[in-house]
Amino acid sequence: MRVAVVDESASRAAVIREGLQAFDDCEIFVVTERHGLIARIGEIAPDIVLIDLGNPSRDVLEEYFAVSRALARPIAMFVDESDADAVTASIDAGVSSYVVDGLAPHRIRPILDLAVKRFNAFAQLHSDLAEAQGKVAERESIDRAKRILMDSRGLTEPQAYAELRKAAMDKGCRIAQIAAALVTAHSLMGGT
């Protein structure tokens, strides 16, 4: 089976490809470039097209499937629209699939399931990364806020931290938020 993975995110496409390589009967084509997308799909002549839901080119692709005479076989949306669970899982994961009409469901289903899993894994990876980056940024702004308090009020580091913590508790918000506000205020007041 020929599977085209259309994704402008090359790293996500790589994650999907790696997963699909587990299937012996799959030949995988990754398309990350939007220029000439339709021509490329025409050349690949895929049995299954996987495309992320966030891709602006989905309308272009659907148009092509609907009107094109270039593909010998029509392509239908999703493997089986009556399988609501599968469809919901795939929308939740953020992937849509187009499958050549008449392909046996038992051949397609594992591929789509795997694509959904891989999309989810990738999303998880991204949110973990974003969280980790957020934590680093928060730590930096807390350090800067402490430094501002230490310089301007002659506090020790533990005292500066205690001040931030107290302000956070009084205001009912997180220390990182107080720190960010302090850093912003300081720079507005001409500090560096």
Binding site: L53, Y64, A66
Partner: protein, 402 residues
């Protein structure tokens, strides 16, 4: 507890009403909490709507009808209780092509530009190069308005010229790379192309049909049935928002809200221009004021006239070559739900027309119309070629079209 409604949208200026209903508290005042979900293609907006990720969606009007009729995928009945806006699109050509068919400095006359363009397009096709247009979706008002203009100008779309689908964010790129010779798209994407020097705006779609239906609020019919009261509250909230939206005093602030990263993620300046009917036709020139470029409130603009759904159905038949079907026409007409709009607003100070259908394009001057409550005057709603559309005779209308 406020009832929560999730609304899907594409980052276009005419997604303004649901966004501002949330931001200005008009939804909250009606006991609703709106969650807005931004997507990048109509296919995804529709998927979310059909599979329950969203309760309602900002949608190109013809797509609501196509979905109900099962074009392209299994049929699912959609309902439209509210029109999010009329017009607001433009035709932008590459600068070379624009210079050949339209004098600079102002919007063209659709008849004159049409005739000149048709002659040029035919010559070009004869030498083996068909001119190519990009529209945002096969089932879009952009596609139908463009085709209406081309056909009335003596061209056969799909034969003399090519029309392809392009995602709005890529329109400027496509013009720049000469992948297309023209685009018909909503704002801010014409202005983005102009600012980049990729093209010149030659016509507004409001010049093709002065009061053409554009985006709608669509939801699944069963959702409307289940949550009727909440949807009526949403209609009231959107009407209140529309009234606020067209007041010039609010343009600056509204443009700033719409420009935010979570909404249009674009330039507040370009958005403000669109909502104040100011168009920059060419890079480096002064803006031109074109009244009613976008049309979000006056003249009962938000009222879902059944005749407008029927007109869209005739265009679908016209360009698909699928043949007129009385049963499909009835289904298409049933998508627009003036009954819901009425019951949401009866007893408020919002004017309601007494009819639910009208002859489209029949008015060339200001006319008072009969109302159920309040007063409504309609201005010109003509098609540029002088035809009018009588919803009592769809087949006759279709037969008489070029």
């Amino acid at each position: 507890m406020a009832a929560e409604l999730t609304i899907g949208f594409l980052p276009l200026v005419d997604a303004c009403l649901p966004i501002l209903a949330r931001e200005h508290g008009f939804a909250e005042a009606e006991g609703l909490s709106l969650r807005l979900v931004r997507d990048m293609s109509w296919a995804t907006v529709l998927d979310r709507l059909l599979y329950g990720h969203s309760d309602a969606a900002h949608l190109v009007a013809p797509l609501a009808i196509a979905t109900t009729l099962g074009r392209g995928r299994p049929a699912q009945p959609l309902s439209v209780p509210f029109i999010l806006g009329l017009n607001g699109n433009a035709i932008t050509l590459t600068r070379d092509l624009a210079d050949k068919v339209c004098p600079p400095g102002r919007l063209g006359d659709p008849r004159v530009v049409g005739t000149t363009f048709a002659a040029y397009a035919k010559r070009s096709a004869a030498t083996g190069k068909r001119l190519r247009f990009g529209v945002v979706h096969r089932y879009s008002s952009h596609n139908y308005m463009l085709r209406y203009w081309l056909a009335a100008s003596g061209l056969r779309p799909d034969h003399d010229v090519e029309i392809v689908t392009i995602a709005p964010p890529y329109c400027a790129d496509a013009l720049e790379a000469n992948e297309v010779d023209g685009i018909c798209v909503g704002e801010p994407w014409n202005s983005v192309a102009v600012e980049r020097g990729a093209g010149r705006i030659v016509l507004a779609t409001a010049q093709i049909w002065r009061r053409g239906v554009e985006k709608v609020l669509a939801l699944r019919e069963p959702v409307l049935a289940d949550r009727r009261e909440e949807i009526e509250a949403l209609v009231r909230a959107l009407v209140a928002t529309a009234r606020q939206f067209v007041d010039p005093a609010n343009w600056e602030a509204n443009a700033a809200i719409l420009a935010r990263p979570e909404y249009l993620d674009g330039s507040a300046e370009l958005i403000r221009r669109a909502i104040s009917d100011q168009l920059l036709l060419t890079q480096g020139s002064a803006t031109v004021h074109f009244p009613d470029f976008m049309f979000q409130y006056r003249e009962a603009a938000n009222f879902p006239w059944v005749s407008q759904a029927q007109w869209l159905y005739t265009q679908m038949v016209r360009w698909e070559g699928s043949g007129y079907s009385a049963a499909d026409a009835a289904k298409a007409a049933g998508v627009f739900r003036p009954d819901v709009y009425r019951s949401a607003l009866i007893g408020t100070d919002e004017p309601l027309p007494s009819a639910s259908s009208k002859v489209e394009g029949s008015l060339s001057q200001i006319t008072a119309v009969g109302t159920q409550q309040g007063t409504i005057t309609l201005e010109s709603n003509s098609f540029f070629d002088g035809r009018s559309f009588d919803p009592h005779d769809l087949a006759g209308y279709l037969a008489a079209l070029p």
